[in-house]
Symmetry: C2
Subunit: 436 residues, 2 copies
Amino acid sequence: MTAIFERFDVHDVRFPTSRSLDGSDAMNRDPDYSAAYVVVRTSSGEEGHGFVFTIGRGNEVAVAALRAVEHLVVGLDVDEVLSDMGGFGRLLTHDSQLRWLGPEKGVVHMAIGAVVNAVWDLLARRRGLPLWRLLSGLSPSEVAGLVDFRHLGDTLGYEEAVDILQRGSAGKDERERRLLAEGYPAYTTSAGWLGYPDEKVLALSGAALAQGFDHLKLKVGAGTDSDARRLKLVRDFVGPAVRLSVDANQAWEVAEAIEAVERLAAYGIEWVEEPTSPDDIAGHLAIARAVAPVKVATGEHVANRVVFKQLLSSGAIGVCQIDACRVAGVNENVAIMLLAAKFGVPVCPHAGGVGLCEVVQHLSMFDYVAVSGSTEGRWTEYVDHLHEHFADPVRVEGGRYRAPLRPGSGAEMLAATLEDFSFPDGPAWRERPVRP
Amino acid sequence: MTAIFERFDVHDVRFPTSRSLDGSDAMNRDPDYSAAYVVVRTSSGEEGHGFVFTIGRGNEVAVAALRAVEHLVVGLDVDEVLSDMGGFGRLLTHDSQLRWLGPEKGVVHMAIGAVVNAVWDLLARRRGLPLWRLLSGLSPSEVAGLVDFRHLGDTLGYEEAVDILQRGSAGKDERERRLLAEGYPAYTTSAGWLGYPDEKVLALSGAALAQGFDHLKLKVGAGTDSDARRLKLVRDFVGPAVRLSVDANQAWEVAEAIEAVERLAAYGIEWVEEPTSPDDIAGHLAIARAVAPVKVATGEHVANRVVFKQLLSSGAIGVCQIDACRVAGVNENVAIMLLAAKFGVPVCPHAGGVGLCEVVQHLSMFDYVAVSGSTEGRWTEYVDHLHEHFADPVRVEGGRYRAPLRPGSGAEMLAATLEDFSFPDGPAWRERPVRP
């Protein structure tokens, strides 16, 4: 009997992280890291896990969006979907009525991404492979077939995507061996949250160096004097050999960003992240021209491949920060990685939050093995919290992500977590006043 | 006793328009025009109406988003909010946790727009004025105070906004008199939906001319031969003096758009609307340069003022199509109208759907009286359906919108409509199989 997709189980999961100011930055002062979590289930008992990452209030809107996508999937033949993942992604993003709510941006797009990722998780489990290895084993034409080329036509087409992937496949086996032996470079943001006092920042920076990290990121946007003072403090502490990046989380106007980076550059910075609105391509370009050789990075809030196309083709960004849970899943991230490869811009994913490290590491590893072929100038973000809630938590050793070996995408949360942190009725929330 | 905001009443209202193919275009083949409708109520019994416009499935996600915004408003002092509408808008758009779900785009941003618009409706009722007149009576500094200048700093600041509005205020009283006497120019899309057969298009075109319209818009994107044939048919029928615009609803790649417009331009077109992705600023600019003097228009799917800033400052659009229900309400539309005024681009609002004409006409009239000071090259879209559901339906006579006189924003739907078209349990939906 043919298996069909049978239902979504959807969970509103929230962690009360605002109590400790973990994750605090210039725009996000008190996040409660959260997930609108979906388990896609089939009639034959297979399952796939995915989630929309949010920072608290509004997670229930993402839950509603997952429910709005459900009817497009339930009843589909599982084998047919798995044999044409590109077509499956386009089926969801092209639903004309849901598309109105973006188009291809915001909560509905993120929910589609969670569902696409969940079905990739299911496929990886079925094949008995970690997602990075599943993707790396696809042929160039199979990978290119995942991409929705709509509105990329002036920049990237199917044939060129296949060419990029064919070039990327030379030496694939050797890189897979190296990845398994050596892991993938990471940088850490754990030390530099805006709400942390100086002593905590220095203690955590010291701990990060001891753990083997050679690239740290600090949050800025609290005022140039304060930012410069803090950056100098850390630079003096870590010495000249460690890379430091800064992240303004969209706090600045274009001119402010240029002025701030010119001052901060004195302490040696690798990139400035989200200097202004993620929608402002022209603004990023103006900043990039003014602050070179400091690179401009963005992506965690970039809505879709069309915006990335412009950021990359214009030279507005020198670091491409894909996010596992912002765009329409693995498929759209493959499109973005191919665009980055075309323009020679390194992919350095955004991670942290809850579960973002677990999922996005697979994309970095696929990029290394089968697309860019390099780890030069590339690091995946690492933040050390909430990993204990995952069935296959990331392993970061010596400042590098160890390649995950367990089948799946890494998205699966522990059953106890789904229960304990269920909002608003789980034990973690019942014990204290429910936030508005 | 001081009045506070007490609660939102939220309705999921849908009209089964897909049965007649009203509203069909290249991307939206079977819309069921819908509204996530909100009534903001105060402890003293005042009320304000607003809505998110959608095209069917997913309207429940917009309902959830309205609920997610509610707690930010309930408990606020009504007089304080009404005396600082700019601050109120920023309070909603800057909520850090909700902002993650955009930022400033998609369902949550649209819901914030509906709430901001509802409070403007309440204020206009309290003052006993139609919204256009309330806005036109504000001072330049009061209007500029509505704008969120964040991420506009490289292009428009408060002082320049005040200057634009001061220049715009010269002759305001005379323009208000003319507006009341003559109305505001409209164009109609009623004739040109993609799903209509030729005979229906010609019959409706004839009816539109008889009603006094001198500007019609046709949907294109069904293939160049078909589009050209249809446009020629209508051009031959209406003669050379009538303006014709075309709307591709994002169906094309950049090169396709240029090729199509070059062919269609032979029949005389005023503007080409949404030739490609609304996120593709560079694509719009490339098209605009190639097809001039045909103008490029867009806006109904443009997410926020930051994207409009780039479309306008780069010359990518020659027609600025604000939408009453896509961005964060009146406040953000004021920002966009000021940007358009700065760059001398006419504002020609998107309307149609359900209720968009009723609300957006106020913004066009405010633009004429107090911002641009002109109706030259400006028309507000008009589509003749679903007006009967509104407490104060638009009056279009001789191809012009008559200025509404009733206090409020025009958003109020009839109580019977809210009941009859309630989804999925209202009589209009109970009588037939519920759509997925």
